[in-house]
């Protein structure tokens, strides 16, 4: 019995390893967003889609501002609207920021394969700031 159990366990581990190792391609999700520039903290939440339901690993993110209005004071991008999952942030009057992790942020998409991402920040000058938020998934 023991002589069969161990090879079975080994085969299972091998299969697990085989599944884990090839799934390392990166892919992106790009989302346009708009934020009201009234000098107060504003947030938008959007879903990134098509992720499947297994755990995913975020390896980075970026902001590019296409219309800064009177300018950014700050912007933060949070996975799952969770401030322990900050992906990237930017500061005063900046129009671009990119962050790539050495490690990864683990997230769990919902049953529909969607993941909520929150953009929070302050901008000034009236009107609306527009930009793109990009999330990079490792697997």
């Amino acid at each position: 019995m023991r002589s069969r159990l161990f090879p079975t366990l080994c085969l299972s581990a091998l299969c697990l390893g085989a599944v884990a190792l090839p799934a390392q391609a990166s892919e992106t999700r790009v989302q346009p967003f708009t934020l009201l520039c009234d000098g107060t903290v504003r947030s938008v939440i959007f879903n990134v889609t098509g992720l499947g339901t297994a755990n995913r690993f975020i390896q980075g993110g970026d902001f590019s501002i296409t219309n800064p209005s009177g300018g950014v004071r700050f912007l933060q991008m949070l996975a799952e609207a969770d401030n322990t999952k900050l992906i990237v942030d930017m500061g005063f009057q900046q129009v671009r920021a990119i962050g790539q992790f050495t490690g990864f942020i683990q997230v769990t998409p919902n049953a529909s394969g969607n993941l909520p991402v929150q953009v929070t920040g302050i901008c000034m000058g009236g009107g609306s700031l527009t930009g793109f938020a990009t999330v990079y998934f490792f697997s």
């Binding site: 161990f6 366990l9 080994c10 581990a13 091998l14 697990l16 390893g17 884990a20 190792l21 690993f57 004071r73 700050f74 933060q76 401030n83 322990t84 999952k85 900050l86 990237v88 942030d89 930017m90 500061g91 005063f92 009057q93 900046q94 920021a97 962050g99 790539q100 992790f101 050495t102 490690g103 990864f104 942020i105 683990q106 302050i122």
Partner: protein, 143 residues
């Protein structure tokens, strides 16, 4: 223990597979700070609660640090973000007039938390122009 090569290889594969799934999560700790801009050095110290230690680890591992300035007043002269009292654990730096910087380490800074499980972080810098500079300091832990 491993008197059979096949058993050794199988164990290695199993450990690799387990490692691939468990050692991948990172968590951020965001802190807003402010600093009087009178041209002299100022220091802000605060505590963060890192993720719980796992396995046999006695240290938390810092993988990334970032600082973004949201209200620069007359501008920075410099800023250093580090583990409090430990310049050997510097997480990030900004220079004259800079607004943000982010650094991702290839390796990690291993920091021993206090008995209560916290780590003290420190922002030291100088800015000019009067009033208060404002910003966010963020540290990411790898666990």
């Amino acid at each position: 223990m491993f008197n059979h090569p096949r058993r050794f290889i199988c164990t290695l594969v199993a450990c690799s597979a387990a490692g691939a799934f468990s050692a991948c999560a990172s968590e951020s700790r965001i802190k807003s700070f402010s600093m009087l801009c009178d041209g002299t050095n100022k220091t802000v110290v605060y505590a963060v609660t890192p993720p719980p230690l796992t396995g046999m680890n006695t240290k938390n591992f810092i993988q990334t640090g970032s600082v973004v300035i949201t209200g620069p007043r007359g501008g920075l002269k410099f800023l250093r973000f580090q583990v409090a009292g430990h310049s050997e654990f510097t997480v990030n730096v900004l220079g004259k007039g800079e607004i943000s910087n982010r650094g991702d380490f290839t390796g990690f800074l291993g920091v021993t938390p206090s008995p209560s499980g916290n780590i003290s972080m420190q922002v030291t810098g100088a800015c000019i122009g009067g009033g208060m500079l404002q910003g966010f300091a963020t540290v990411w832990f790898f666990s």
